[in-house]
């Protein structure tokens, strides 16, 4: 077992890798009441082309299958309702799927041992039948419809479709109605066998727990079960070009104020090589850049509001694959094209003062303290580290302190802002 201090935040991370390959992370927080546990597989909406366990050729499964599988994990052979079993123990449970992971969780301190066993047991005992698979399809169709009236989501999905040429980041995690309807019981088992081996999964527990006991419970649970030898899943590698598929697109919806979604596509591999920084560092500098340039305290936002190009703040997000880094900006504007042009002009302006940079850095350091106070944020931090880099960043505070203006300027001057795509969502003409 590894014991790692999370320096400066009064926290300790315990790490244990079991014989079957499962990795366990525990961050005890003795002064909390609550307990939060997540059990995650490195399998998400992105992963649709891979070599199935026991086979040699790459197969393609329908889009949305990881999310479908997540729904169906709750079906049990005994007919028992998993939600109800957790609920009986006084806690709530849930699950979620994103591009690179599927996560199962429970939240609450009562009956911890039972809940931990239950979490491991239900995720490790799939029960898919033709009938229960069919039954789920209409439910997921309704889940798809739920976002169909949200112009921000629709704009974002279309942008991703247009930014990527072949990488499955271009498809939605939930899939389409068509792909969801083509999913079979066999497809689900294929994915399950390939990606739900303990060696491809990790368990994170944060909150009021004893780390030794927690690890012991998991060990005892896993020793009772038999698993095949772990073979790391082989995923197809996509030769994703740096250029975008489609630069400009428009959607019409029943909305009042048009929306703009604009994405810059950067060559992450090239940046890593040229700058000699890892992905996490580049990401961090790009986030600071987006915040400085387009955040609430930016001169840009002040100007475009004066010019009446927008009235509200803009959102930004960062998305990364192994090779590509996206910076995505979203905003409302009665003149979305003019706003887009202003953004494109602004990225040519490299004037950023050191004081503003230092303030953002201070804000990031402060946010570590806020994270350390919250068992959900802590768990989420370990989880996202595991998915993006494969190791937990225990030196987070030091790493933030190391960020500096010179490196920041080097990073942003290496970004190619001429490579972008945008989508406008406009009101339907009446």
């Amino acid at each position: 077992m590894n014991k790692l201090e999370i320096k400066g935040l009064d926290l300790t991370l315990y790490e244990e890798r079991l014989a079957n390959g499962l990795t366990i992370y525990v961050i005890p927080k003795e002064n909390s009441k609550g307990i939060y546990a997540t059990f995650t597989t490195k399998f998400g909406g992105h992963d649709i082309d891979f070599i199935p366990e026991g086979k040699e050729e790459v197969v393609s499964v329908p889009a949305g299958i990881a999310h479908f599988l997540e729904h169906k994990m709750f079906a049990q052979k005994s007919g028992e309702d998993v939600m109800s079993l957790f609920s009986k123990n006084g806690v709530s449970c849930n699950a979620n799927t994103s591009s690179y992971k599927t996560c199962y969780l429970f939240d609450g301190s009562s009956h911890f041992e039972e809940n931990l066993n239950l979490l491991l047991d239900y995720v490790q005992e799939p029960y898919f039948t033709e009938e229960n698979v069919e039954k789920e399809k209409h439910i997921i169709e309704q889940e798809i419809d739920m976002t169909a009236d949200n112009p921000y989501s629709i704009g974002y999905f279309r942008l991703m479709e247009n930014m990527f040429v072949c990488d499955p980041s271009r498809i939605r995690v939930i899939g389409s109605k068509e792909s969801v309807n083509s999913i079979t019981k066999e497809d689900l088992y294929t994915c399950y066998e390939t990606f739900y081996h303990p060696g491809n999964m990790f368990l994170i527990v944060t909150g009021n727990v004893d780390y030794e006991r927690t690890i012991e419970i998991v060990k005892e649970n896993q020793e009772k079960k038999k698993f095949k030898e772990f073979k790391k899943p082989t995923l197809k590698h996509y030769e994703e070009p740096v250029s975008v598929l489609k630069k400009e697109d428009t959607i019409e919806m029943n909305i009042t104020v048009p929306k703009l979604t604009l994405g810059f596509k950067f060559d992450l591999k090239r940046l890593e090589k040229e700058l000699q920084f890892d992905e996490a560092t580049i990401r961090r500098y790009v986030a600071i850049y987006a915040n400085l340039k387009f955040g609430t305290a930016s001169c840009f936002l002040e100007e475009v509001k004066q010019e009446e190009l927008t009235t509200s703040d803009m959102d930004y997000s960062i998305y990364a694959t192994d090779d590509i880094l996206l910076l995505i900006l979203e905003g409302d504007s009665k003149n979305a094209i003019a706003l887009k042009n202003r953004i494109l002009k602004e990225v040519d302006n490299y004037q950023i003062d050191t004081h503003s940079f230092e303030l953002k850095k201070r804000g990031m350091i402060a946010s570590c303290v806020y994270t350390s106070e919250n068992i959900y944020s802590l768990n989420q931090k370990v989880l996202s580290d595991m998915i993006s880099t494969g190791e937990v960043e225990v030196a987070i505070l030091e790493n933030y302190k190391k960020l500096n203006y010179e490196d920041f300027m080097r990073v942003i001057q290496s970004l190619d802002f001429t490579n972008y795509a945008f989508v406008t969502v406009n009101p339907k003409k009446k």
Binding site: K33, G34, D81, M83, S84, S87, K88, N89, G90, V91, S92, C93, N94, G108, S109, S110, E136, H138, I139, Q142, E143, D145, M146, A148, D149, N150, P151, I154, M253, N254, I255, T256, V257, G295, T296, A297, C299, L301, E302, K305, Q306, E308, T311, S312, D332, S356, L359, K360, R362, G363, I365, A366, S367, V369, Y370, S372, E373, N374, I375, K428
Partner: protein
């Protein structure tokens, strides 16, 4: 955790001392009986105070100052609570033990200055900031009906509110905003400062001596009203209503509004919660099982209870063609609850869930603040008494309440399956 309440000249101080957190949180609540126009006006006021002050007049300067103070969180908002309108000023910052000496005082001063010394010129809010925030809010109001769920919820409330404050649109009215100028808003602000009841809740590793003199220097001039403000709004009963409205949204939104007759305070605080959890308040509830899992009619179905209004709402996102089937399954479920068609085991499960979540309130400063607010404003018990009271809820109590649950409004915002 130690709670002390002190009635001061200009405010009531509620201090919750605990060294469990690395942060300090403060919440100042101004309360007044609801008036429809105030909803819009105070919403704009909250928007303006959230981005500027006398010392930091522009949004940019304001946000940079917050960053300087180690990402201090400072937010103003206005919300309705039954008959009351609450203007909430929230502050959260990192204790100076974790940043640098003097930061506690600077953070508090920034917050109080923002609230008490806003960006005013000649008895009016600064024209530029006012214009920008008004424009932003106006655009929000213009687009508010783009969100089908928001629209359907508001529509349900106008139908069942029958002209009472329940029917007011809490997000505000375009017409009122258009007529509002910086002078009038200043009067709204002044009125609030002088006439509303003010409570200040403080939680963290901080003493009365640390905070009281500073608060006094800002608030001792004002007179705090001692009157008891009653948040409770009796449900406005009337003829039952069914309404279907066509739209061009993709999914249909079904809202079913119920009220509960003759509830005691104990029923409002405990029995109604248990009933709601069993019916549709969780992912293993009756409605979730019947409508989603057994009949695959929807992804989202849930119920919410609103004890302040003696009401309950069922929400579902469905296909228009499944309307009748869904309504009839919901009604069957309501009937099952009336017949006591649930086990003692299920009841115990709900009570245990509440016990667990009550116990975990102490993990979050904002939950603790919520605990004391509901205690002070709504006479809701504090933690231990709350856990104790919940444990006494019996099946008979839930069945008795279930038999007083009455359907009032069914509203369907009909989607046509294609927005794009």
């Amino acid at each position: 955790m130690k709670y002390t309440k002190t009635k001061k000249n200009g405010y009531t101080l509620h201090l919750i001392q605990t060294n469990k957190f690395k942060t300090i949180a403060i919440r100042a609540n101004f309360r007044t009986p609801i008036r429809e126009d105030l909803l819009t006006k105070r919403e704009l006021l909250a928007g303006i105070l959230s981005v500027s002050s006398k010392n930091y007049p522009t949004r940019r300067e304001f946000v940079m100052r917050k960053e300087e103070l180690y990402q201090l969180g400072c937010r103003f908002s206005s919300y309705t609570s039954g008959n009351m309108l609450v203007f909430m000023a929230d502050l959260k910052f990192i204790h100076e033990k974790y940043t640098e000496e003097g930061m506690n005082h600077e953070s508090l001063a920034f917050f109080l200055d923002t609230l008490m010394h806003p960006n005013i010129e000649k008895d009016a809010f600064n024209h530029d900031v006012f214009t920008l925030e008004k424009r932003n809010y106006l655009e929000f109001l213009e687009g508010k009906n783009d969100n089908p769920n928001r629209y359907a919820s508001w529509k349900l409330d106008t139908l069942r509110g029958r002209g009472t404050p329940l029917s007011f649109d809490a997000s505000g009215e375009e017409a009122i905003l258009k007529d509002l100028d910086e002078k009038e808003l200043y009067h709204v602000y002044k009125d609030m400062l002088t006439k509303d009841a003010l409570d200040i809740f403080v939680i963290g590793d901080i003493t009365k001596e640390d905070i009281e003199p500073l608060l006094d220097s800002y608030f001792q001039e004002r007179k705090n009203e001692e009157e008891q403000l009653d948040h409770f709004l009796p449900y406005p009963k009337g003829e039952p209503i069914t309404l279907k409205e066509e739209s061009t949204f993709t999914q249909s939104k079904l809202k079913m509004g119920y009220y509960i007759e003759n509830m005691t305070p104990f029923e409002r605080h405990y029995v109604l919660r248990v009933y709601n959890f069993l019916l549709g308040g969780s992912s293993d509830s009756l409605l979730f099982r019947v409508v989603r899992e057994e009949n695959s009619l929807c992804y989202d179905i849930h119920s919410t209870s609103a004890p302040l209004y003696d009401m309950l709402t069922i929400h579902a996102g469905i296909e228009a063609k499944d309307y009748e089937k869904t309504v009839s399954l919901v009604q069957e479920s309501i009937q099952k609850m009336r017949e006591g068609n649930f086990t003692e085991e299920e009841l115990e499960k709900v009570k245990l869930n509440y016990k667990t979540s009550y116990e975990e309130i102490v993990d979050s400063q904002s939950s603790i603040l919520g605990l004391y607010e509901s205690h002070v404003y709504l006479n809701y018990e504090l933690l231990e008494q709350r856990i104790e009271a919940m444990s006494t809820v019996t099946k008979d109590m839930v069945v008795s309440l279930a038999n007083r649950v009455q359907l009032d409004v069914i509203y369907l915002l009909e989607g046509n399956g294609m927005n794009e």
